[in-house]
Amino acid sequence: MLTLMHFQIVSAALFSVGLYGVLARRSAVLILMSIELMLNAVNLNLIAIASFTDPERFTGFIIAIFVITVGAAEVGLALAIVLRMFRNRGTVNIDEIELMKW
């Protein structure tokens, strides 16, 4: 029988994969993609819970819509920053964006 737990485990797996991407990648664009994976994991979780538990108030759905909205905005801004970074420093390698070190 398909239960909430199964969706939650898939969501956890996707989130962990995204986390790995954020921690292990070196290119700003790839890190952004990993963040998108994490956002989707959260959305999947939200919608699964809403779908299984909350027949009247759809809170999960609505928050998922907001997450998608904010995610889109975030991608737009982040890519603008990446472009600016590339134009200023000639790279999207975040190893070279290290002005805050000692």
């Binding site: 190893d95 290290e98 805050m100």
Partner: protein
């Protein structure tokens, strides 16, 4: 009509004068001295109003809340009673005279306005001390007086002796002040208030044998501690060492310190807290003994000193001893009366001595002689001061000294009486010696250039001379409503003028004989002095060396205090500075140098640490939740 409720203005005027003189002094006439003199003069006029109010309406006290601390209310307030108003008059008048005198005496000094600023501050502190209605305010004023005396004694701080004298005065009196503070706190602990009237109420209950917040043991200890504080300020043995050195300051300052402000504070304190001493009668015996010891030692030292100002300094100590002895013999009125007559006379003597220094630029009496020919007015002033303090009848000192003798006779063992008569004789003798050696005899050539004091210095001397002659007559019963000073200043019940004919005559004869002996020795030269010197050689040499007390203190400081201080300094340098402070800084610096390599500036490193933290938190929460 201005009444006693404006008495607080008297010190406040002087306190306001202090910054005014320093900041704006140069815009005022007399380079700021006018502000100080104006404040003091206004204070003296206010004193007259307060005095009139006191005489018509009786004593009163005013108290204003300052702030609360844990249920204890601290107050600002002032007492208007015969004691405080009398000292108020003494301080305002003498300070006024000294300041007028200083205008001329200090006129070429580069720090003229600083001098007058501190003078005003000094007077303001002393007036606060006199008016204070609670021990806390009194203590604050007490310390301010000490500070100002330090600043004034060390006024010429380019000169090493002045600096050392200032330090000596400050440290010596400060040592005694600690005792005063402890005494005040002891009283506070039992009474629960700094208010004097409440403390005295309890002391009176204790005296009456009723149920009192004060225990007799604590009262005795507190009285003795307060007395130690008074010993410091009033230069009683063994705290007297600072006063002779204090003459390193300008001479008018000495006049102020010796007559009106610093040394009067100790006598005033004992008189003000007299009820506490009475509640522990043993303390009064100690006060009397210390006073007697001081008066004898200082009188003998005054007899062998050759510096005019030092003679006057030891004379002051001797007379302060007499006042303490008087207080210790229940002679409350006599002590305050003598404080005032002595204050006027001693201020006069110091101003005259200052005039001599101003005129011939010398202080050693052996280099003087015959000065009456070049400065007759100064000589007359000094002579009046000398006979007044020497105890010649009609002059002020005689009357108050007589009252002291009377109270000693009534309340103390005959041995006290004999010794105090010796002191009376000695004090007349050294005053006569100083006067005759300095002003009579042959005028030496180098002193022929000497000149009389200018008018601004002469006027205060004349006014003080008048008081030194006439003030003692207040002791007499003049009208039906005024029964002598004893009916004005008293502790329990007033008493009219008392005069023991034999005693009065005896002391007058003693004083007169001292003057005659001095005349024969120092002016006529008909009585040789060397046999005396040979007979009393050990005592004289001891007195000349100030009874070794100064050397003892110096030895103690050199061998104990400085060695200990060096140890502490070493400890500070090695442990506090090198190990603790620099060590901590060094280790922080080193760890920072090591740790900074871990600050990579790489985003994913930071993110990783964040994730580790988050996971650890979640795991911890998990552990707790599962356990629960």
């Amino acid at each position: 009509m201005i009444g006693m409720e404006y008495a607080w203005l008297i010190p406040v005027l002087s306190f306001v004068a202090f910054p005014l003189i320093l900041l704006l002094g140069k815009f005022f006439p007399g380079k700021g001295s006018s502000i100080s003199i104006g404040a003091m003069g206004a204070g003296f006029i206010l004193f007259l109003f307060v005095m009139a109010d006191l005489l018509s309406n009786g004593e009163d006290f005013f108290s204003y809340k300052w702030f609360d601390v844990g249920g204890v209310e601290l107050t600002w307030g002032f007492i208007i009673d015969p004691l405080s108003v009398s000292i108020l008059g003494l301080v305002t008048f003498v300070a006024l005279m000294v300041q007028i005198y200083s205008v001329s005496y200090m006129k070429d000094d580069p720090r003229f306005n600083w001098y007058f600023g501190i003078q005003a501050f000094f007077a303001g502190s002393m007036l606060t001390l006199v008016l204070a209605d609670n021990f806390l305010l009194l203590y604050i004023a007490w310390e301010l007086v000490g500070l100002c005396s330090y600043l004034l004694i060390g006024f010429w701080y380019e000169r090493k002796p002045a600096v050392e004298a200032a330090k000596k005065a400050f440290i010596t009196t400060r040592l005694a002040d600690v005792a005063l503070l402890v005494g005040i706190l002891l009283l506070f602990k039992q009474v629960g208030s700094f208010s004097m009237s409440e403390t005295f109420e309890q002391a009176e209950l204790l005296m009456a044998g009723a149920n009192s917040a004060l225990s007799s043991g604590t009262t005795l200890i507190a009285a003795l501690l307060i007395f130690v504080g008074a010993m410091g300020k009033s230069a009683q043995v063994p705290f007297h060492v600072w006063l002779p050195d204090a003459m390193e300051g300008p001479t008018p300052v000495s006049a102020l310190i010796h007559a009106a402000t610093m040394v009067a504070a100790g006598i005033y304190l004992v008189a003000r807290t007299f009820v506490i001493f009475e509640a522990a009668p043993d303390s009064l015996l100690i006060v009397a003994i210390v006073g007697l010891l001081t008066t004898l030692m200082a009188a003998s030292m005054a007899l062998v000193m050759t510096d005019l100002k030092q003679i006057l300094a030891y004379s002051t100590i001797s007379h302060l001893g007499l006042m303490m002895l008087s207080l210790g013999s229940f002679g409350y009125t006599a002590a305050i009366f003598h404080l005032m007559t002595h204050g006027f006379s001693k201020a006069l003597l110091f101003l005259a001595a200052g005039s001599v220094m101003h005129g011939i630029g010398r202080t050693d009496i052996r280099q003087m002689g015959g000065l009456i020919k070049v400065m007759p007015l100064t000589a007359l002033a000094f002579g009046i001061g000398a006979v007044s303090l020497g105890g010649i009848p009609i002059f002020a000192g005689f009357w108050s000294k007589d009252e002291i003798l009377l109270s000693v006779l009534d309340h103390r063992h005959p041995i006290f009486m004999i010794l105090v008569l010796v002191a009376v004789f000695l004090s007349a003798l050294y005053m006569a010696r100083a006067f005759f050696v300095a002003f009579m005899g042959e005028l030496s050539d180098e002193n022929r250039e000497g000149h009389e004091a200018p008018a601004l210095m002469a006027i205060p001397m004349i006014l003080l001379s008048i008081l030194a002659v006439t003030f003692g007559l207040l002791a007499l019963e003049w009208t039906d409503s005024f029964h002598g000073i004893g009916s004005f200043i008293f502790v329990h019940e007033g008493h009219g003028f008392e005069f023991n004919l034999i005693l009065g005559l005896g002391s007058a004869i003693l004083a007169a004989s001292a003057f005659i002996i001095a005349w024969l020795i120092y002016v006529k030269g008909s009585v040789p002095i060397s046999p005396f010197k040979r007979t009393f050689a050990p005592i004289i040499s001891m007195a000349e060396r100030k009874y070794y007390l100064d050397s003892m203190y110096q030895g103690f400081i050199d061998r104990v205090v400085l060695v200990f201080s060096a140890l502490v300094a070493k400890f500070d340098r090695v442990f506090v500075n090198d190990v603790a402070v620099n060590g901590v800084a060094e280790s922080v610096k080193r760890s920072a140098f090591t740790l900074r390599h871990h600050v990579t500036g790489l985003m994913y490193n930071y993110a990783f640490v964040m994730v580790v933290g988050a996971i650890a938190l979640a795991a911890a929460w998990w552990a707790v939740a599962v356990k629960g």
